[in-house]
């Protein structure tokens, strides 16, 4: 289906949902659930929390949909709700450890026990590195890397200037580079 047609269909669904059509809203949820839950998961690193936050995001979206302006992007609006809701929860539960273990996320055992173990360690290290970033930098990085948003869109979602998006992204990637030096070296060798 052509992009303008998809946008037109989405606008029609938004209008119906704004007038209280639950099935139309269900269609919108189906379209955007995957993107929302991924972004939330990358922010929090917890599968259960990610699904809870996705649910919270869509509930808030349902309640506030009448005030949504159809000319703006629904995806970006949902991301904004999702990021704010998730960061609120994360701020309240800073002392609790992340629930997901690396082996939950890396079920591929076919590569052999040794390779699998290395991969698990790498994933765990990456998770730790990601979560050691300040939330402001992490949000920008997640929206760029996993949400595939442009700088302008990130600025709009987080309500910050584009210059701040650039500086936070710069900080986040440089910090990750320092934390993941050994992994990067290994990856570089694999590519070589």
């Amino acid at each position: 289906m052509a992009l303008p047609q998809i946008a037109e269909d989405e606008n029609a669904l938004i209008e119906q949902a704004q007038h209280g059509d639950r099935n139309a809203f269900g269609e919108l949820v189906s379209l955007h659930y995957s993107g929302v839950v991924r972004v939330v998961y990358r922010l929090c690193g917890d599968t259960g929390l990610a699904e809870d936050m996705a649910q919270e995001t869509f509930l808030r979206a349902w309640l506030n949909l009448p005030s949504f302006r159809p000319q703006s992007s629904l995806r970006n609006w949902l991301y904004r709700i999702a990021v704010n809701a998730t960061l609120d929860v994360l701020r309240r539960r800073t002392d609790e450890p992340l629930e997901d273990e690396a082996d939950q996320m890396y079920p591929d055992q076919a590569a052999g026990p040794e390779t699998s173990l290395i991969e698990k360690e790498r994933v765990a290290l990456l998770q730790l590195a990601m979560h050691s970033l300040p939330e402001a930098a992490r949000s920008v990085l997640v929206l760029r890397e996993y949400g595939s948003l442009s700088y302008q869109e990130i600025a709009s979602v987080l309500d910050i200037p584009v210059g701040t998006v650039m500086s936070r992204l710069n900080y986040a990637r440089n910090r990750l580079r320092e934390l993941l030096k050994s992994d990067l070296l290994q990856l570089e060798n694999e590519y070589a």
């Binding site: 269900g26 189906s30 659930y33 839950v37 599968t47 509930l59 009448p66 890397e145 990067l184």
Partner: protein
């Protein structure tokens, strides 16, 4: 020089550089080993992040079906009071004030007319006589002033009753007009509110 270029490398990696800035950076990269290496490192970080696998989530359709079942009733939003609405609410207040004024004037006029007819206030209501003559009474009085002398009190009574009737009709007409305007305002107010709440009820 390199430090100036480093922040732009992220934007270049993300496809956010355009025009002369893009050309300048590409020109610089073609001749600068340090910046090329920096860009390579940034790309590796990005690749590493993309390589982190995702756990399995609920399928989108199932999630949406569950969610739709648990959607709460949507409350009607409280509309903020806008400056225009002040004028809107002044309409019934003005109509009530007008109704009160007409009612008072009507009652006073009726009381004075009754007092004049019965002579309760004696000479005190004499000043009303000038404004209380109907056209026909004035014409009859001026044309046949010498001949109607005996019938003067009867004609005067008929004139007063006529004036009373006209005042009564005027009072009721004014009140009917005010009530009509008030009901019109009330209907508009009702219909402006009603469709939204009906829609919300139907939706839920």
């Amino acid at each position: 020089m390199h430090e100036d270029m480093f922040p732009l490398l992220n934007a270049y990696l993300d496809g956010e550089l355009h025009g002369t800035r893009l050309r300048d950076l590409e020109l610089h990269l073609s001749s600068c080993e340090v910046c090329r290496n920096e860009l390579k490192q940034l790309r590796l970080v990005s690749d590493l992040l993309q390589a982190v696998p995702l756990p399995e989530f609920l399928p989108a359709r199932r999630f949406a079906s569950n969610l739709v079942l648990s959607l709460p009733r949507r409350r009607m939003r409280e509309l903020p009071v806008q400056p225009a609405s002040l004028a809107w609410w002044l309409v019934p207040a003005g109509l009530l004030a007008a109704w009160f004024f007409v009612q008072t004037a009507f009652m006073l006029t009726s009381a004075l007319t009754a007092a004049q007819m019965t002579g309760l206030l004696g000479q005190a209501t004499r000043w009303l006589n000038g404004g209380q003559e109907t056209i026909w009474f004035a014409a009859v009085s001026s044309l046949f002033s010498n001949r109607v002398g005996a019938a003067q009190p009867e004609l005067s009574l008929i004139n007063t009753l006529n004036v009373f009737g006209v005042n009564l009709l005027d009072g009721y007409l004014w009140q009917a007009l005010i009530v009509l305007l008030y009901w019109t305002w009330l209907s508009i107010w009702w219909f402006r509110r009603r469709p939204r709440s009906m829609k919300m009820e139907n939706a839920n």
